[in-house]
Point group: D2
Chain length 336, copies 4
């Protein structure tokens, strides 16, 4: 069986998924939709697919699945539309910035018995998968603490920040999902600190650029997340898990692995500085995972529920900063 895809949105991330679909065995790209004709045309030219409207795609008999790569504020509506149209849905995170809207949307997905996968790309990174496998294989015994360092090379433009939902919902949300994936136990409490240190403009927009979070589970496992919008040395993406028998850590990635030695010391190049190069393999694995799920071979790897809980954790972190206290996830009234 081949899963026939349409991509909604021909922007940067839409192009990533178009390439991933085109190069995944068992998947084919049928159509692209984008209000910007030139963007759609470029994808159509590159991969030999049709250009169609979103509604036409929803009505297409030759489309089994869609990848939603449109702006965040359209996600929930499109998920509902395509769930109702009987298509399998892959949607970039987040489902919506409003937790209540997410709950409503997931209700529809559930009623339609639709397949929904939310794009948490990091779970599909080969290094992080190897790290998780070491944990699953019992190499470090029982998981006790997870440490996630996640720093962007630089802040996104103000226009993006305005509609991003803020650092916790936009950036930390990935780490919240990784934390749940690695702790192996649902998160019970959230506490956070947040500051504006890299650019006062970010503060003027009501957002933060530097945050630290501590998560705990019911049994006392802990996770710390450290985020900054600025790391001059590249895209800093590290995970370390401490267990009863040892620890396992994933190291950062560089474009080239050379070492220059001179009078001043030993020098290595900066890290890869962009999520599209850093996670190039992850995006391919992610679509392959979705295709396997749509083909009925595996369960959906990252569900709508995962998307909802990660957003709830972001909301809890915001509440923790506002009220300067530890917030219980149960206060957010998400089933876990």
């Amino acid at each position: 069986m081949t899963v026939r895809f349409a991509i909604l949105g021909a922007g940067r991330i839409g192009q990533v998924h178009a390439r991933a679909v085109a190069s995944t065995e068992g998947a084919s790209l049928v159509a692209i939709a984008d209000p910007m004709a030139a963007a759609a045309q470029k994808v159509a030219d590159n991969y030999g697919c049709d250009i169609r409207s979103i509604d036409a795609i929803a009505a297409s008999d030759d489309v089994d699945a869609v990848a939603i790569c449109t702006p965040t504020d359209t996600h929930a509506d499109l998920i509902e539309q395509f769930a109702r149209a009987g298509k399998a849905v892959f949607c970039e995170k987040p489902i919506d910035l409003d937790l209540e809207r997410v709950k409503e949307c997931l209700k529809t997905v559930s009623e339609e018995n639709a397949t929904l996968m939310v794009g948490f790309n990091r779970r599909f990174d080969p290094d992080f998968m190897a790290l998780r496998k070491a944990v699953d294989d019992g190499k470090i015994g029982d998981v006790e603490m997870v440490t996630i360092s996640s720093r962007d090379p630089g802040a996104p433009p103000a226009e993006y920040i305005k509609v991003s939902g803020g650092i916790f919902r936009d950036m930390t949300i990935h780490d919240f999902d990784v934390a749940r994936w690695l702790l192996g136990e649902e998160i019970a409490t959230v506490q956070a600190a947040a500051s504006v240190l890299t650019d006062p403009e970010i503060g003027k927009l009501g957002d933060y650029d530097s945050v630290n979070v501590i998560l705990t589970t019911e049994s006392g496992k802990q996770c710390t997340i450290t985020n900054s919008r600025r790391a001059t040395y590249g895209y800093d993406q590290r995970i370390e898990v401490l267990g009863s028998k040892g620890s396992v850590a994933a190291e950062n990635m560089r474009g080239t692995n050379i070492v220059l030695a001179d009078e001043s010391g030993f020098h290595q190049p900066p890290l890869l500085d962009f999520f599209m190069t850093r996670y190039i393999a992850a995006y391919a694995n992610e679509i392959a995972g979705f295709v396997a799920a749509v083909s009925g071979k595996t369960a959906t790897p990252t569900t709508g529920h995962d998307g909802m809980v990660a957003l709830a954790l972001a909301d809890a972190a915001l509440l923790s900063v506002a009220e300067q206290r530890v917030v219980k996830l149960s206060e957010l009234k998400v089933s876990t």
Copy 2:
């Protein structure tokens, strides 16, 4: 000028300082005191010094300085006795487990105009000194975030834990001091999570073995501290500082630096697994720093005030865990 030392306490750490004094230029070891005759004799034999009682040392004309290496509950009394006796005092951390007693003790020190240095050995570790120098030299721009990973190879015996004041006052206190040393700005708030994950016996003693802490300063700089009483792979002591222009990190230390490669991969030995081997150079530098201060060449590198603030941060962390909220250091009523 030679600073003539007496060591109070001939236990493990007393021996470390005896060796440091004996091998420091400008210092000489005059006397050792210990209620255990054999322990005192061993130090006397090794370094050719006298055995005297504590009171005799306080009255000795040929002693300029003492290093207090006795049990914690004697520290404050001894500091006061020797401050009054006109001796310069080096005291192992903590001054006392009770913050009010510490304040009282420091008042006496101040009235006597005495020199008091508290033994925060990490500030004297060559790698951490090089890291701090990189910060001072502006290599990473303005400090934004400090990340401290500090894990013991294994928990101390129950007897020790009972009198230790708990993990925050016994273990994290070092990291609190390092945080202050690197943030370059006084700490304003403390929040913490604490669990018992490595050994239920520790929980029965009312203590924790796994903690994470977030500190913030007035201007929003942040520091995270992660502690565990168990790291199977050795004594894990890492610091990373993120700044506006980059980051600087100190790596862990091994006894030997070989790499074995075989079918199963590449293997390096575990870390040094004991503070006395890991910080051997730090202990020597620490005494040298004290000698320089006593000789009037430099200011006292780690003062009684440093000891007090670190203890207050530990108390704040405990309060944060108890009340599940962010605690302001000002609540502890320590002048900073």
Copy 3:
């Protein structure tokens, strides 16, 4: 302009180049030739190209270039046939195992004024390219010494060894080319040691499995090459260049970059263990380099002359082992 390709040979390396051609901008795959119908069909199916005979390809108007991926003993004949047919020729190393035959073949290429590129993939590896760029940029000053460590995960089957021309012509030949590429000066002398240490069967075939070579240039620059047919920890491919101002080194590559720490130490996975995974990016760059040359944008990056000199160095190494002396490249009568 699009360079229209035919691939001669649908074996392992033919498939690598088919994929490289298919994914290179400015290149298209028109035809595949292979006496094994199934192998040819597989490539035709994967990339939507024709199946044709070698002679038909030589006569095809819609083919601009061929990639020769057939057994070594056919290379020289095919190069001549396609040079005469007016096609640009990419040929896997070596041109031939006999130096005189190579000279003859290159004469034909020259007379036909044909484009011939020999496949020395390592020059196109991103890490080695970055290393070379550091040298070209003057980062290490004048090159003095090159150190090449090249070890296979395991020996090829006896059938392969029999027709390989021996380790110097089959394996070290890559390192000879890298040495020339990095020394920046033609090689003047060769001395070598060769043993059978990994498998006596290799010795029975008249070959070696463990060799070390020292090369010198006229001005005294030196290069050492160390080769083994067995490295249990993976495909070991390292280069280090020492210059007057410093050194630059390319490190080995792993499939995943995680570090597991436990009681026994710190562990990383073995290296990538196959040239097709280790040099996946190099193969793509190599074809892109050939396409650029055929399109007239650049000079041919690795020429027939490069192939001839590398083979002459292999012959010189064999002579050095046989006669236990330093051999001058000039004895081989290759113009350099």
Copy 4:
């Protein structure tokens, strides 16, 4: 039993050994001899030992052992004098620059049944000892190839080079000894290349500054040694051993282990740049090994015979360069 030492020569290396003796359990420093009164006085002051003439030391009843740290051209005479005087002798390498003189000297040592240890410090480096232990423990199976990289931070002064015997006898000699120590089989052949690349003055003195050597054993094990008198990034001292089951490598040492990351990449400090800091632990272990041998606890770890063979290998390397051929060690007529 305490081994009572006299040190002959109060120069740089004499001071190293004086400190090592003073801090070694079971050893005491009784006397120092040096024609330069000030140098002798400094050692006497530092360690509280007598100043005596060499002849007085030879006649002293309270001296069990001497460490010869005088200029090379006095070594053989002093070894003979003290062997005859019934003292255990530790001598810095080389015994003499003339192989025949060495043979003669060893004959005397043998006739006197004296203890003679030659100072090949590298065998006592903790990392190299751990590497050797991994080999002995069978971690890498049978040894096949040894790779030694040994580069000095900078050339010694011309005055030193003139009396050094040349790079093979002065610098490579250490690596020859390490090769024998690790190959586990006597060396059969030597071939070498030698150039002047770092400083033409060295060439004018008839010496080389850049050499590569290949050694083989009877059974075909191989060792390469690469030497340069200049490595701008510090004192480069690496060893790698390849065996049938894997490899083991010793990494370089830095003074501090911090990593600075900024826009231009990741930076570590240069290597330790001096043999006295790099091998500080080795020197202590070396004297401890001598003391153990003199005390009858162990065999002499590095014998006069080791010193002779290493010198013969240096002579063979010179011959190889001169005659451009592989030289058999048997040509040098040293019993092995």
